[in-house]
């Protein structure tokens, strides 16, 4: 046996391919098992990437309308849905094709197929033609991801009821679209379809959109969504759906419903995702699942089988691509014998709606739940020159700060480009930066990033563009 470690990565999403690439870079002998021609997983094929391509067009459409207020008038857009779909697909193809190139350059053995554990050192691989073979491994990284949850009682065997994958297929632009679930996937896809011309209704069981995010930020987002969507029904449940004459009739149950039964051309179900833990032969190993079906892992992402790791959505919340990639790197470093562990201080979350909403680290909501003493500073974008030039005053930057050390514990941003701005917050939190550090770092003018600096200045009562004497 040579010193080269033999690693098999099961699943080619952003967790799996990041792990496989790093393993190869560290000189390991790597096999990547994934049914697709090229790596990418849900994120590239059916998630982050195609949805962002569509959201980019949605933004363009929205801005072309907003510009009439500035004296620039466009004709209503003519939408060629087939061409749009082709373009979206070309984005996906280009990106996944690029990954395929990187697989070859790194001399990773890519097996197109699916893998099942026979025991803790052997996999049975079924390739896409149905041919079975056995493969021995020293180490395995399980990165099989997740898939949308459906509600059996509401399942209808019709393409009119879609999950996120179906919605991204962009069959048509329905006149009336119902989005079930007010989480980020529903709101993003709702934003796309609304821009393309659908009348979008969002129904959410709980009292607010985006559970987990701070309410003050969601409020600003919701104001924007109220204008774009037909209606947002909170504290409302869908109790029945049936197909009627090319439409879906939906019965709601909830408070203050004007119309408890409505018809929609399509329904998009985005009520959550569940880990892909089935048909992997986990029962032939000592790998354990938790009560929600996630694989139990330690800080190094090691399962109960010491040579098998699990990363990404299958290893637990939050189910985010960037968390999966980071975990993939940790697992590979652990295999390489380093004492790497997964202990981030902040995993940024971004909702690519219009406006965008992003947060990292401790939220104000969490601080309240934990009864932790924090100071919160909010900088309204109405005081930002840059926001004004964009006519995007619907924004806010906020910092959650430890009162004693002035350390930045959390950051939230709602507004145009929030997803890009949050990165600074992540760095500040990870580096244990304090408000003085942010205040004393010169930020470029005129940009939205200045709002981060000015929020930090608020702690000292010296924010240039907000007059708010120091509270004591």
């Amino acid at each position: 046996m040579s010193d080269t470690k033999r690693v098999v990565v099961i699943g080619g999403g952003p967790g799996g391919y990041a792990a496989a690439f790093m393993a190869a870079d560290l000189g390991m002998d790597v096999t990547l098992v994934d049914p697709a021609v090229n790596p990418g997983g849900v994120c590239l094929y059916r998630g982050c990437i195609p949805s962002k391509a569509l959201l980019h067009t949605a933004k363009l459409i929205n801005e072309s309308k907003e510009s009439s207020a500035w004296g620039i008038e466009f004709q209503p857009p003519k939408i060629d849905i087939d061409k749009l779909r082709t373009w979206k697909q070309s984005v996906v193809d280009k990106l996944t094709g690029g990954l395929g190139q990187l697989v070859k350059q790194r001399k990773i053995n890519h097996v197109q197929g699916r893998a099942v554990f026979v025991n803790n050192t052997t996999l049975e691989i079924t390739d896409n033609d149905g041919k079975k073979s056995k493969m021995d491994f020293e180490y395995a990284i399980l990165a099989t991801g997740s898939r949308p949850v459906s509600i059996p009682s509401l399942s209808l065997d019709t393409p009119r009821v879609m999950d996120s994958t179906g919605a991204l297929e962009l069959e048509d632009v329905p006149e009336k679209l119902l989005v079930i679930g007010g989480g980020y996937i529903g709101l993003e896809m709702g934003t796309v379809y609304a821009a393309l011309g659908s009348k979008v209704t969002v129904v959410e069981m709980t009292s607010g959109l985006l559970p987990g995010a701070d309410r003050d930020m969601v409020r600003i987002l919701q104001k924007g969504l109220d204008e774009k969507f037909e209606s947002i029904l909170l504290n409302t449940k869908v109790v029945e759906m049936k197909e009627v004459k090319n439409q879906i009739s939906v019965k709601f149950e909830g408070e203050k419903l004007e119309n408890p039964e409505q018809k929609f051309d399509r329904v998009l179900m985005t009520i959550g995702r569940r880990p892909n833990n089935e048909n992997l032969g986990l029962e032939n190993t000592k790998i354990q699942l938790d009560e929600r079906g996630f694989v139990k892992v330690d800080l190094q992402r090691r399962t109960d089988e010491p040579n098998i790791f699990a990363i990404g959505d299958i290893a637990g919340e939050p189910m985010l691509a960037h968390k999966a990639s980071h975990e993939g790197h940790v697992a590979v470093e652990a295999i390489a014998g380093h004492k790497a562990t997964f202990e981030p201080r902040a995993i940024p979350a971004v909702v690519f709606t219009d406006p965008e909403l992003a947060w990292a680290g401790l939220t104000e909501t969490q601080a309240k739940e934990q009864k932790r003493d924090v100071q919160v500073f909010r900088f309204p974008w109405a005081a930002s020159g840059r926001a004004l030039t964009m006519d995007r005053l619907d924004g806010m930057t906020k910092l959650i700060v430890d009162p004693e050390s002035e350390r930045v514990l959390g950051m939230g941003v709602v507004g145009a480009g929030a997803g890009e701005l949050i990165a600074e917050g992540v760095l500040a939190i990870e580096m244990a930066a304090n408000a003085t550090d942010l205040k004393l770092s010169i930020h470029p003018h005129p940009t939205l990033s200045e709002t981060v600096m000015e929020t930090a200045e608020m702690l000292f009562g010296t924010s240039t563009h907000v007059y708010r004497p120091k509270r004591k």
């Binding site: 046996m1 026979v118 025991n119 803790n120 050192t121 052997t122 056995k134 021995d136 020293e138 180490y139 029962e283 032939n284 190993t285 000592k286 330690d298 800080l299 190094q300 090691r302 109960d304 089988e305 010491p306 040579n307 652990a334 014998g337 380093h338 004492k339 790497a340 562990t341 202990e343 201080r345 934990q370 932790r372 430890d402 004693e404 050390s405 002035e406 350390r407 514990l409 990870e430 580096m431 244990a432 304090n434 003085t436």
Partner: protein, 553 residues
């Protein structure tokens, strides 16, 4: 069933030895406790007994090979089961991962993965700053030690600094794979501990184990050889501890790179006190914390010599004639190291004197038969043992050690004396215990026995440790005086040369007296010149008038 005989724990930080001789050969039947080989360690030749019975199937080393503790040395076949652990109180249980090179003959071991104790390798962590290797400056633990997580285990010297490497697991040290001076690389195993904290749940699904066996393909595939190896090895690495969170609940204010560094060297970042704004923790803070931890664990110990001077490179001797290079024996290496260190650390002073042994010599001859009857030999050394023991009682600072690290003097309430013995393999110093409590005949018997043992290479390490003062008698060979080197951490040594008749001016005339030259070297840090002179004078007077022993000693 294939059984293995491994090099057992030899105690006292001994990690390896040289095979002197195999006492069995292939085909021999071996019984439990039967010695199977002789192993030469730093100071002793030890017989290694078998813990199991069986027939010798193969011998995996040859005489002269350097072998490590835990290394498989002989394979036995046979139905005999290993002896139960109760039989021997402390057979080192070596469930070390099998050597990946030769897993071929190894069957899949049936032992439950992650049982009550599992062996964990502690490796050289990433030291950051592009450092890839270092030299072991000091090994701070020994086989048999119980170590705790985060306890420093070695001092590692890199290009930049000496770093303490803390353990990242706790348990009993079962083997130490490195010694001071070894060059080690990042990731190299330093030692193995039998971990008591192995978390692997013994949920043991019998199914999983049965699977590969019943799998017909497994058999055709060159034995399931490599399969068990990684699993075993990896359970070791899985012990990255989940550090307890900080008391405040606020995550430790340290950058990711600093947190990673702390984890690599086994420091709980939540326990580190930051020196920066708002308690922010720097790499320096982590190092300081590690250093403090190290201090805490260090007990006693003499401050290391402040920089050893590297020997200049040797010339090419063959320019001037034929040379023959031979490896230094272990005893020679150890002697060289030990004496260099003693010479470099201790400010030596040697005081000379002579004792009139005319009367004593007469007594020695008179009572020689008595000792012989008891099985001993009444030598001058045996008598000097008793006299020195009394002297040490009178002068307790000679029965002491210097602890510079803690600025203390360690006074010993027992009197154990070392006796330098010249052997074929070099200088050995067996120790005779509680000399003050034994009579001279007893001492002569014990001295005879121990000298024979030393010459036969049968001394155990234990018999060479714990001395307070050493006697080196070269009188049998000759010479008038010499300057012995103090056997650190002792503080004095008595050198004895050959006695000879000298004219001594006594009562107005010269009379021939048998005079014994004495050379007392002592550690001037602890012992002043006047005390040195008093001590050797007391010795000389006691030799001349042994009544002094009873009177004062």
């Amino acid at each position: 069933m294939s059984l293995e005989i491994k090099i057992p724990d030899l105690g006292d930080g001994i990690a390896s030895g040289t095979v002197a001789n195999f006492l069995v050969s292939v085909g021999d039947a071996v019984e439990v406790e039967q010695p199977v080989l002789e192993l030469e360690t730093d100071k002793a030749v030890v017989e290694v007994p078998s813990e199991i019975a069986g027939t010798v199937e193969s011998i995996l080393a040859k005489a002269g090979d350097e072998v490590k503790v835990g290394q498989v040395i002989i394979k036995l076949s046979g139905d005999a089961a290993p002896v139960e652990k109760e039989e021997k109180p402390d057979p080192p249980k070596k469930e070390k991962a099998p050597e990946p090179e030769k897993p071929a003959e190894k069957k899949i071991e049936a032992k439950p993965a992650g049982g009550p104790a599992s062996d964990v390798e502690i490796k050289v962590p990433d030291l950051g700053e592009g450092i890839t290797s270092g030299t072991i400056a000091n090994v701070l633990v020994a086989v048999g030690d119980e170590i705790e997580n985060e306890q420093p285990i070695v001092e590692l010297e890199t290009d930049k600094a000496v770093v303490e490497v803390p353990a990242d697991a706790s348990g009993k040290v079962t083997s130490v794979n490195v010694k001071a001076g070894d060059e080690v690389k990042i990731g190299q195993a330093l030692l193995v501990v039998s971990s008591t904290g192995a978390p692997a749940p013994a949920a043991a699904p019998a199914k999983a184990k049965a699977a590969p066996a019943s799998e017909s393909k497994a058999e055709t595939k060159a034995a399931p050889a490599p399969a068990p190896a990684p699993v075993e090895a990896k359970s070791a690495e899985s012990l990255t501890p989940e550090f307890s969170p900080s008391a405040s609940g606020v995550p430790a204010p340290a950058a990711p790179s600093v947190r990673r560094f702390a984890r690599e060297i086994g420091v709980n970042i939540n326990e580190v006190k930051g020196s920066g704004q708002g308690g922010r923790i720097s790499v320096e803070d982590v190092k300081a914390h590690s250093k403090a931890l190290h201090q805490k664990y260090r007990e006693g110990g003499v401050a290391a010599p402040s920089g050893t001077i590297a020997a200049p490179p040797l010339p090419d001797f063959s320019k001037w004639g034929e040379v023959d290079r031979q490896a230094m024996s272990k005893v020679r290496q150890k002697t060289a190291e030990h004496l260099s260190s003693a010479w470099a650390t201790i400010p030596h002073v040697t005081q000379f004197d002579k004792a009139d042994i005319t009367e004593l010599e007469a007594l020695r001859k008179q009572f020689g038969k008595k000792a012989e009857a008891a099985g001993g030999k009444l030598t001058m050394t045996a008598i000097l043992l008793k006299i020195c023991a009394s002297a040490l009682k009178v002068f307790p600072q000679f029965n002491a050690s210097v602890d510079m690290a803690n600025k203390q003097v360690v006074y010993k309430k027992y009197i154990n004396l070392g006796v330098a013995v010249d052997t074929d393999r070099g200088l050995l110093v067996p120790v005779i215990r509680d000399v003050d409590k034994k009579n001279i005949v007893d001492l002569s018997v014990e001295l005879t026995e121990i000298a024979v043992k030393a010459r036969d290479g049968k001394l155990s390490l234990d018999e060479m440790q714990g001395g307070n003062f050493t006697i080196s008698n070269l009188g049998g060979i000759g010479g008038t005086a010499f300057t012995p080197i103090v056997n650190a951490p002792e503080v004095a040594i008595l050198g004895v040369s050959r006695g000879s008749y000298e004219p001594v001016y006594k009562d107005g005339e010269f009379v021939p007296r048998l005079m014994l030259p004495l050379s007392l070297s002592y550690d001037h840090r602890l012992i002043d010149g006047a005390d040195g002179a008093r001590f050797i004078r007391w010795l000389a007077e006691a030799i001349e008038q042994p009544f002094k022993i009873v009177l004062e000693g």
